[in-house]
Symmetry: C3
Subunit: 342 residues, 3 copies
């Protein structure tokens, strides 16, 4: 798209060459052909060194630029608008079942449902109105998928899984796999046995939940593993059997919640953190990146970090220990000398 056309759409004015633009990017990462943006004169150096072909700048910018300039009232907003125009078109997933999809005759599909190529929908499954089930998905027996939920390619829902309305399930998500549970010990003759504990429950996902690529959520031993409404889960997260996430929480990439734990409303579990099994995290608590939480948190502390997890202040103190120790050592040495001299 020509810079002049873009300026027209954005309600701005072009200064300099009428370059061809095809993408957006921050000032530092932009390349020739990119549009970038800057609002704040304190970033003037980044503007001066950008490789973008054009930059969105506010009307009062008087520091120049090494490329074409499109002046607009609000460069950030204008850049978002431009980004939408440059974005790869969102693929149209028109209502209808792809001829290669295998949908069991007993499955119930709502109005305007899309089912993609090579997708399998098994016996008794129900798909709500306007849901999009993309290609190569597996929907097991008796699963329920709510209205307008979007399931991306190569997701698997094992039998009995329930997904609410308006959810987004990204590629490679695994819902309803068996929880990890075994009885083991020794038989009378001394030999070892390891016996699978049947995992008889299901996974239930509330409305408005988003689940990132390759995340795994296990079915309950009995009852339900439950992810409450509006919970937002990132990629490669592990959620064990019988976990309950009440709702409106965030679970960031590669974090893990062990079996039967309850996560309150509005919690935030940061990347690579781990929460032990059979405990409760109170509403609104944040668990910092890579933290390990061995015990319930009652909400008296709002943010914990470290392994075992502790309040930020204590964690920060811990980081300073070597320096404090060195200082104390020197003091003791000095004191020893004094005592010896007396």
């Amino acid at each position: 798209m020509k810079a002049s056309e873009l300026a027209k759409v954005l309600g701005g004015t072009l200064e300099g060459e009428d370059v061809e633009l095809s993408a957006c990017g921050g000032l530092e990462e932009a390349r020739p052909g990119d549009l970038s943006f800057c609002k704040d004169p304190k970033h003037v150096q980044l503007v001066e060194s950008t490789k973008a072909s054009a930059v969105l700048l506010p009307p009062d910018w008087d520091k120049g630029a090494p490329c074409s300039v499109i002046r607009v009232a609000d460069p950030n907003h204008a850049c978002m608008t431009a980004a939408k125009m440059f974005a790869p078109p969102e693929p149209v997933r028109a209502p209808g079942v792809h001829p290669t999809a295998i949908v069991d005759p007993s499955a119930k599909l709502g109005k305007d449902v899309h089912v993609g190529a090579f997708t399998v929908v098994e016996k008794g499954a129900e798909i709500g109105d306007g849901a999009v089930i993309e290609a190569q998905v597996f929907i097991g027996e008796g699963c329920k998928v709510g209205a307008k939920t979007h399931i991306y390619p190569q997701v698997t829902l094992r039998e009995g899984t329930i997904v609410g309305a308006d959810c987004i399930i990204h590629c490679g998500v695994r819902l309803g796999g068996d929880g990890y549970g075994f009885n083991n010990g020794r038989r009378e003759d001394g030999s070892i046995f390891i016996e699978k504990i049947p995992q008889l429950g299901i996974v239930e996902i509330g409305d408005g939940v988003e689940i990132g690529s390759n995340t795994t959520i296990d079915r309950a031993r009995i009852g339900r593993t439950y992810i409450g409404p509006m919970t937002k889960i990132d990629n490669l997260v592990q959620i064990g059997h019988n976990v309950k996430v009440k709702g409106y929480s965030g679970l960031i990439a590669q974090s893990g919640i062990a079996g039967s734990t309850e996560i309150g409303y509005g919690c935030l579990i940061w990347a690579q953190a781990g929460v032990s099994g059979h405990i409760k995290i109170a509403d609104g608590v944040q668990v910092g990146p890579q933290a390990g939480v061995p015990q319930s948190l009652d909400g008296s502390v709002r943010y914990v970090i470290g392994t075992p997890a502790e309040p930020m202040k204590e964690f920060g103190g811990r980081v300073l220990v070597p320096k404090m120790l060195a200082k104390l050592k020197a003091e003791v040495k000095e004191l020893k000398a004094k005592v010896a001299a007396k």
Copy 2:
């Protein structure tokens, strides 16, 4: 199912309304329509506040309940029985090859094998009697799958992978991907090179192994990456090339074992733990959650925790360091004052 019918099946007696029940759940998470259970009078408060529609209680329970009651001799056992009745029916995977599956004519299928829709079985692969290969699975050239092994949808076995009998392989498992191995350095002219080291070996999985969703096990550089019998692996676990897990061990979610390491019999690697490459963990050793093991463990310590991993006692002592340091600091201050006063 009506509570009265369920009471009959469980050999118990119903007190209160003949409610409709459709699932099981613990006292705290149960909802209307659920059956819960309690054995121990000390949980009376949980019974009083449960939202279950009925609760299984022992004959001598005299504390009442806010819902219907089914009296049975063993509430825990009865609840498991009920859970099996409520459980989503285990899908029948009848013997036979789905018409859409692509099975190479040179592949050998045993008796009563199930092959699901859109599954690919390549040249020379062998599938044992009674094995279930679900939909959308990829079985590469020359793979062997043992009798009665169950492979869930969307698993990939790269060429040459061997899986034993009675295994369970959950959705999204990747067996036999290339190990991570590169030679790098600088050429005579100063330019950098990074060269792939061929990964020529295979993955071999023993009998009775279970592997959780989205776990990855790499093929050996030469020889075999080996997972011994009855090993139970959770979700999102990473096992590097040439690792040897002798058998009867557990590897919990998101743990990782680096290349060429040996894990003894009966070990337990807890969630998010990491074990370095080229070391040995002795039989029966447990590696705690999030621990990082840089060196071989000879079994003289049975449980390690922390990074670098150490015995529980030392790890516990480490946690106390800031408090101990503060106390010592105060003592030194006091001592200083005394010395100055003399």
Copy 3:
């Protein structure tokens, strides 16, 4: 293969029984039927206890062996040669589109492209000459895959993803999933809202990149998530939106890079390490296993470890703290006694 045949191929001489050999393995893990190797007399004990059926030894080895011996000039090199002969044959992926694959008529396939069974290639996608797209892959609208790139089964490329030439993408990799981004807060009436931020950008992968099984790389919010040339990524790695990995770097299994972070040239991020968002890691820096990096690293330190990450020397000092503290405590006690006695 008979040991005598192998000896001939390797230019060596067989001593002992003409055993049948079918695999290679290190001295310790080798089993009957395996060929092993040893070069260095200091490993004589491993040779003595090996279960291999034959072992490659140098001409001057005079310590015997418990099995057949093939003498060769360079045992290591000979073993690699043998391993190639024993390796499962690399499956032939001949040029051509499998009849079950669904390739949109608007997609452009280069010369000698292989497209496997049940693979979907959507509108406007472009696949370069000699590329191999295996079975059950999903290539979204407008994706570009470079020449000779090899994509293994069950990979998904969301719309607009660009992959360079000579790349290797292993099973279960997810490219172009939505980045994790939400606006949240409270509405005027006090109710909570959580709003998805559109993820409008793409993922772009440079030439010669290898990506391990089940790794996830998110599309940019705007612009590109960029993985530079020759970067080698292991299994189960998470790369957030707008991350830039300049090139020639290694990211080991289960590590994670949070959004908008830049990783310089020639970096090495070890297993299970985490790098925070919106920071920069200078060229050539190594981040140790399980380390957590909260701030930019300017390259003045070449290797960091721990959480928060610090130089090895400081981390090592931290490990020693409990011992140092105990020693200091004893000194203070002694000093107290002295002061009291004066």
